[in-house]
């Protein structure tokens, strides 16, 4: 549980920044200078929305401290590609990458790749398999696999590269598959990228497979209670993040008059910056972090940066932004040793 002695973090969804490079730069820099800890990039099919992972990658070199966390589908995308793309994102962002796992019932996405639509419990199985493939591939190069040993002519130590030999488990609902490995890119800077998943997927996806859960509720009033419930369900080792849509009074217009329409199935907050500040201060006592989905990115971001975050910082509800920290650092996670690292080689007391 987060208290003011153990302050929380804020993430902002940058969906409104579209595909234009200049807009993306403006959005991520605005979010970073406002003091947000993380930026997320949604990826459900919608006209005008560019690939989330690439938007996050574009934001990497122009930002410095903010974590960059794209949504990436696990059902209709190749796990090998997902793994290497996310590892690459970690490199181009200097260890600030994360992954919001999505697994939705999506007939359109199925038709686009010519597969039959995956529903129900099978979604969780697909997601779990993709996460497992990615995690094994990230571990498939031990940290010190690149040795550049001129005397022996070896660039890598082959003993520190591993075939992952993943196979979908018995009882897998979809077409089973296997992935050989190793990865085609060395281990990500963070070792393992933080994996975030909607709480609704937990169960289908084993809770041990994720680092954080995203919690939704139908109304703001129900959100704190839902966070408590989920925390009880997932246990203490998992970071809990509340999802909140918002529209603020801005530029002389009342929130209600700004005509925002939310359809994400999330709690939606409408009101003044001051009342949002109070709301978030309370919510951050329950949740480790809150992910904000502003109705209008640039308008609401302006209010958040000017009024809400400074006040939350003054009340010590927010963690300080750590210069040159990784996303794992922000979430309070250790850097784990590779699962393939030989016991003798593993540093004492390393990771899970």
């Amino acid at each position: 549980m987060s208290t003011f002695e153990n302050p929380g973090f804020l993430a902002i969804e940058l969906d409104g920044a579209g595909w234009d490079g200049a807009d993306l730069t403006r959005a991520v820099l605005a979010a970073e200078s406002a003091g947000f800890h993380a930026a997320t990039f949604t990826d459900a099919p919608a006209p005008g929305r560019a690939n989330a992972l690439q938007r996050a990658a574009f934001a990497g070199p122009v930002s410095r401290t903010i974590a960059l966390v794209p949504e990436v589908d696990t059902v209709y995308t190749e796990p090998f590609h997902i793994s290497t793309q996310l590892a690459s994102l970690d490199y181009v962002s200097g260890g600030r990458a994360g992954w919001i796992v999505t697994a939705a019932e999506a007939p359109g996405a199925a038709a686009a790749v010519g597969r039959s639509v995956v529903t129900g419990a099978a979604l969780g199985q697909e997601a779990a398999a993709s996460i497992e493939v990615s995690r094994r591939l990230w571990d498939s190069w031990e940290d010190d696999a690149v040795i550049r040993d001129v005397a022996t002519g070896r660039y890598i130590d082959v003993d520190k590269l591993h075939y992952v030999d993943f196979r979908t488990p018995a009882g897998f609902a979809g077409p089973g598959y296997s992935v050989k490995g190793p990865s085609i890119i060395p281990r990500p800077l963070q070792g393992q990228l933080p994996v975030l998943a909607p709480a609704s997927l937990i169960g289908g996806v084993p809770v041990e497979a994720v680092d954080a859960v995203l919690v939704s509720a139908p109304t703001p009033e129900l959100l704190a209670a839902e966070v408590r419930d989920v925390r009880a369900r997932v246990g203490a080792g998992v970071v809990v993040v509340a999802e909140l849509d918002l529209v603020l009074d801005a530029r002389g217009q009342a929130a209600a008059a700004r005509g925002a329409s939310f359809d994400g199935g999330r709690a939606a907050f409408a009101g003044s910056a001051a009342s949002l500040t109070d709301f978030l201060a309370d919510l951050l006592k329950e949740a480790d972090g809150v992910r904000l989905h502003p109705a209008s990115l640039f308008v609401d971001l302006e209010e958040l940066g000017r009024l809400v975050l400074p006040e939350l910082r003054r009340r010590r509800a927010l963690r300080p932004v750590v210069q040159d920290g990784t996303f794992r650092d922000l979430l309070g996670l250790d850097r784990p040793a590779s699962r393939y690292a030989t016991a003798a080689a593993a540093p004492a007391g390393a990771g899970k």
Binding site: G48, A112, W141, I156
Partner: protein
């Protein structure tokens, strides 16, 4: 090194093909190979973003048209284990290029992506995304990846024979073009794109509008007759492996014929061969530098490992500075285990042939392997002025439209080219003195593409 430039060859007939009189440069950041030196103290990280940033920004300072990333979806192996002696491990091309898009303004961003292990709608969407975030600078270097073991990393598995890969690739590329062409007006909406084929079915309503360059530029890398004809039908540029002058001229003639046969103009497909430059103020210094470069590229262990691929057995007991092994290979068929270009030659026959050749020329294992590695043929060695003269001749004749330079050092490997060779070429009037526009299509002087045909369901082709 000037013997090529004395060739009197011309390309095609003047009414068909018109040399532009210019050459362009691209940089091919290969990542994985023996060409990139990792043993020199000045050799930097192969994965850190700063290496990529430095190369891309240097190339942009030198008005390079494009920055290329290669792709390999399975690690090369040697005697059943990952190959240890060369640079290995590299970032995903499009993720890296999207990051580079934010720290560059003009340079084209070319992602090598294969058609066998991707889904057309997904790949087309990601390329369109890269094209939009970069302001119209994206390109796709289309590869088919013919090595059998790559499929083990994918859900699809290794589901296509070599012969079917270009058929599949063509249906894939046509579907991608229809996806990029589907956005009706600047504000949308998109037309639904349907494809029913042997290997996959696509039914998608695309999400993204056209970019500033209409759609990503298409490069193709593949050299077989099928590969060349495919490029002549579908691509804007072919990334060839024929940089020596006479070869380049032959290749141009062949490609012009294929382009005309495909119903496109003689100038429709540009040619940019892979190449390596070893330059210095004088010819003597360049020759010395080349010795040094080669000794670092093919060290003693690499030389032995190279032979082991073909012998199929450990040869570490042999002296790299001695003669080729007298023992015979253990395999009948050589297999391509490291992504090198030799297929199906009978191993024993090859061994006999090589032993004779090495003996004939008095070469040690190391010297022999150095002479065998393909890069030798793609190397321009000499003083800045001599190489500039040589390239000016390529431009005059129209042997190529440009060169894809593989720097042998990362991240400083383009410095001498940009600082010394480019100005020499500019003085000779054969190299751009500014970017022609802001998109890759503009830099290359390519026409806006013809919008691909409409139609509810494309005929099944693959």
């Amino acid at each position: 090194m000037t013997q090529h430039t004395r060739a009197k060859s011309q390309v095609g007939t003047p009414d068909q093909f018109t040399p532009s009189g210019q050459i362009q440069f691209g940089v091919f950041f290969q990542g994985v190979n023996s060409g990139t030196i990792w043993k020199a103290p000045e050799s930097g990280s192969q994965t850190d973003f700063e290496s990529f940033r430095r190369i891309a920004q240097t190339a942009e300072r030198g008005l390079f048209a494009a920055f290329f990333l290669g792709e390999g979806l399975r690690l090369r192996e040697h005697l059943g284990r990952p190959h240890a002696l060369d640079v290995v491990g590299r970032p995903d091309a499009q993720t890296m290029l999207a990051a580079l898009a934010s720290v560059t303004q003009n340079i084209g961003l070319v992602a090598t992506q294969n058609t066998t292990y991707n889904d057309p709608a997904d790949l087309a969407h990601r390329l369109a995304s890269l094209d939009l975030v970069s302001g119209g600078r994206a390109a796709w270097n289309i590869v088919t990846t013919d090595n059998a073991w790559t499929g083990a990393n994918f859900r699809r598995g290794g589901y296509l024979d070599h012969a079917d890969r270009y058929k599949h690739a063509e249906a894939f590329v046509e579907t991608a073009k229809r996806i990029w062409d589907s956005w009706e007006t600047p504000d949308g909406p998109a037309r639904r794109v349907l494809h029913e084929g042997q290997h996959y079915t696509v039914d998608v309503t695309p999400r993204l509008p056209r970019s500033a360059q209409y759609r990503p530029v298409l490069f193709q890398a593949g050299d077989s007759p099928e590969g060349r004809s495919f490029a002549a039908r579908q691509a804007d540029v072919i990334f060839s492996a024929h940089p020596t002058f006479d070869d380049a001229v032959e290749f141009r003639k062949d490609l012009v014929e294929r382009s005309l046969a495909a119903g496109r103009g003689a100038n429709a497909v540009q040619i940019m061969p892979a190449s390596e430059f070893i330059l210095a103020p004088t010819a003597a210094e360049a020759a010395e530098k080349k010795e040094w470069v080669r000794s670092l590229q093919i060290g003693p262990q690499q030389a032995i490992a190279y032979l082991e691929q073909f012998w199929g057995r450990e040869l570490s007991a042999y002296d790299p500075d001695g003669p080729l092994p007298e023992i015979d290979p253990v395999v009948e068929e050589t297999s391509e285990t490291r992504g090198s270009g030799f297929h199906g030659a009978k191993a024993r026959q090859l061994a006999d042939q090589w032993r004779a050749e090495a003996k004939d020329k008095g070469l040690s294992i190391r010297q022999f392997v150095t002479s065998k590695t393909a890069r030798i043929d793609s190397t321009f060695t000499g003083s800045y002025t001599a190489v500039a003269d040589q390239l000016a001749e390529y431009a005059r004749v129209g042997a190529v439209d440009g060169f894809n330079i593989s720097p042998w050092l990362v991240p400083s490997g383009l410095d001498d080219i940009v600082n010394h060779l480019v100005p020499e070429l500019q003085e000779r009037g054969v190299y751009p003195t500014e970017y022609r526009g802001s998109t890759l299509r503009e830099h290359l002087g390519l026409e806006a593409p013809v919008r691909s045909a409409d139609g509810a369901v494309a005929a099944a082709r693959a």
